[in-house]
């Protein structure tokens, strides 16, 4: 069988070993240079220098590009959006295990069609420790405000009743998404924040 005319086998072997070692070196080098680039800048928190009652700050870099590209939100839009919350919560929160779907029907007026469909898909089941839940009060603060959708953190104080009629106070920590649909603000989703189920103060 004819041998390769270009390079002897021994040279090929050594050539391959050298290339292999170079590859390893390149890989390790790029890994550590990548890590160096990823390390955070050691920018210390700005120091506050007291001068009378005014806090002076060290020079700060220009603000990074902000994420908000949407048109500015107005006080009126915020007020009108959250106006739907009291009625919605009074419809959505109360629950009676004898009529587990009633809350969905009561809420229909205040929620989007897609959320209504979502709520209607699954049937909620009361537990023996929560056969009934009654709405007491609610408070909320905005979490995200946009022209056509707004998020609110809503804290609802409730009273639960167990199967033996014993009452217990509870706190439901919701995240409520409101959407502007045909000029009306409606609830499009309700989620739970960590800590829900807590005891109100």
């Amino acid at each position: 069988m004819a041998r390769s005319p270009q390079l002897p086998d021994r040279a090929k072997t050594w050539f391959s070993i050298i290339i292999g070692l170079l590859l390893i070196a390149l890989f390790i080098g790029s890994f550590f240079s990548g890590r160096r680039a990823a390390q955070p800048k050691e920018t210390k928190p700005a120091a506050v220098h007291e001068q009378g009652d005014v806090h002076q700050y060290e020079a700060q870099p220009e603000p990074e590009e902000t994420t908000s590209k949407t048109p500015p939100i107005t006080e009126e839009a915020v007020s009108s959006a959250q106006a739907v919350l009291p009625d919605f919560l009074k419809a959505y929160v109360p629950f009676d295990s004898k009529q587990p779907d009633a809350y969905v029907d009561r809420s229909k007026l205040y929620i989007t069609d897609s959320f209504y469909k979502q709520l209607s898909t699954f049937q909620r089941r009361g537990t023996l420790s929560r056969v009934k839940t009654e709405y007491v009060t609610a408070e909320w603060t905005p979490a995200e405000l946009k022209a056509d959708e707004q998020w609110y953190n809503v804290d609802v104080t409730v009273t639960h009743t167990d199967i033996n009629g014993k009452n217990e106070d509870g706190l439901l920590l919701y995240v409520v998404l409101l959407k502007l649909v045909d000029g009306k603000w409606k609830v499009d989703d309700v989620g739970i924040r960590p800590g829900s189920g807590a005891i109100p103060e």
Binding site: G20, V54, T66, P72, S97, R125, T127, W140, I192, A198
Partner: protein, 350 residues
């Protein structure tokens, strides 16, 4: 010789592949973001010791060993469903039965011809425990006490069956919320089960926030005393969580100017509810700092910026007040990261 030579040449390539594996494999298990979460499971907490009947714990743990569902999650379900089988009779108004409140169709199998709607089905008592029937219709009932029947009224059977159901809905692979929601289609139910699961272990499911203060660039907005910290207050007696406070309150004085904590762009300045000044934040300013960060300056008596203004750290955004839901002069300061409020303390060096 030629054959061995190429084998030697292949060694460095194999080394490269091995090194790649060594470096990349751990990355698969590293979180991408700055904020991560703990996990369920672990040693029983004082609250767990006080609440959970001691004889039930080995059963939860055996079920955990068999199905991979954390024992405290099973205990939490048991607590929420029947308060550890103390609420009698253990039949709900929609027909859920037994210690863990299974619907008969979930227990025997939804492919049974009588199963629809809520899942009460039409079964005789014997049919509900019949292992052949459960196997035939794909139910979740399990004969854990090895008496030849799977009964919703057997504590052991029902706990193992709950674990069986939860693991098949993702609990063993970390999809806890999905699994709990499958058990009962209610967000409130999910929240309550998660709350008890967290309370029952010492080190389980405590949200772990990993942040890098040196990166933040946020400054403490005012030097006043911290009058209320961030987080959920735990009742020292019951161990249960109380109301949450998702920011930090600083004492401030009437007329005191409130500076921005970091450079950014004002995205809101005004009343939370222009029709009712007693609501929530009252008069507040939001500054967007880019990169998903936003700060709140709430309960102010006056704002000194407008939407669209670009501010530097230290620029005054308003004046200390007590508007909104407030009982005295203070600044309520928050940091949002990607729409979620986080503890500002480490960002501002507290």
């Amino acid at each position: 010789m030629k054959k061995w030579g190429w084998l030697i040449a292949a060694i460095p390539i194999l080394l490269v592949v091995a090194l790649c594996g060594m470096f990349l494999f751990p990355l698969l298990f590293m979180g991408g973001g700055n904020i991560g979460y703990g996990f369920l499971g672990g040693a029983i907490s004082p609250v767990g010791e006080r609440e959970i009947p001691v004889e039930y714990i080995p059963i939860y743990k055996e079920a955990e060993a068999r199905y991979g569902v954390p024992w405290n999650l099973l205990a939490a379900h048991h607590r929420v469903e029947t308060v550890f089988s103390t609420l009698q009779p253990m039949i709900s108004s929609v027909g859920a039965e037994g210690h863990m409140q299974f619907m008969p169709c979930t227990w025997v199998g939804w492919s049974h011809p009588s199963c629809y709607g809520a899942g009460k089905g039409s079964f005789t008592e014997e049919e509900k425990t019949n292992l052949a029937m459960i196997a035939r219709y794909g139910g979740y009932g399990v004969d854990a006490d090895r008496d030849g029947r799977a009964s919703m009224w057997s504590l052991r059977d029902s706990i193992f069956s709950a674990a069986n159901y939860l693991t098949k809905n993702g609990a063993a692979t970390g999809n806890l919320e999905r699994a709990i929601f499958a058990y009962n289609h209610s967000q409130d139910y999910v929240a309550e089960v998660m709350m008890y699961a967290r309370l029952y272990v010492t080190e389980g499911f405590i949200p772990i926030e990993v942040i890098e203060p040196s990166e933040s660039g946020f400054a403490r907005p005012v030097a006043g005393e911290v009058t209320s910290g961030f987080g959920i207050r735990i009742d020292p007696v019951t161990g249960k969580p109380g109301a949450s406070h998702e920011g930090i309150d600083f004492a401030c004085q009437a007329g005191q100017r409130i500076p921005a904590s970091k450079a950014g762009k004002v995205v809101f300045a005004g009343w939370q509810d222009a029709n009712d000044h007693s609501k929530g934040y009252g008069l507040f300013v939001w500054v967007d700092h880019g990169g998903g960060f936003k700060t709140t300056y709430a309960h102010m008596s006056q704002t000194t910026v407008h939407v669209g203004d670009v501010v530097q750290a230290g620029d005054v955004v308003g004046v200390c007040g007590s508007t909104g839901k407030s009982t005295g002069l203070h600044l309520h300061f928050e940091i949002f990261v990607n729409g979620r409020r986080v503890d500002p303390s480490p960002f501002i060096g507290l």
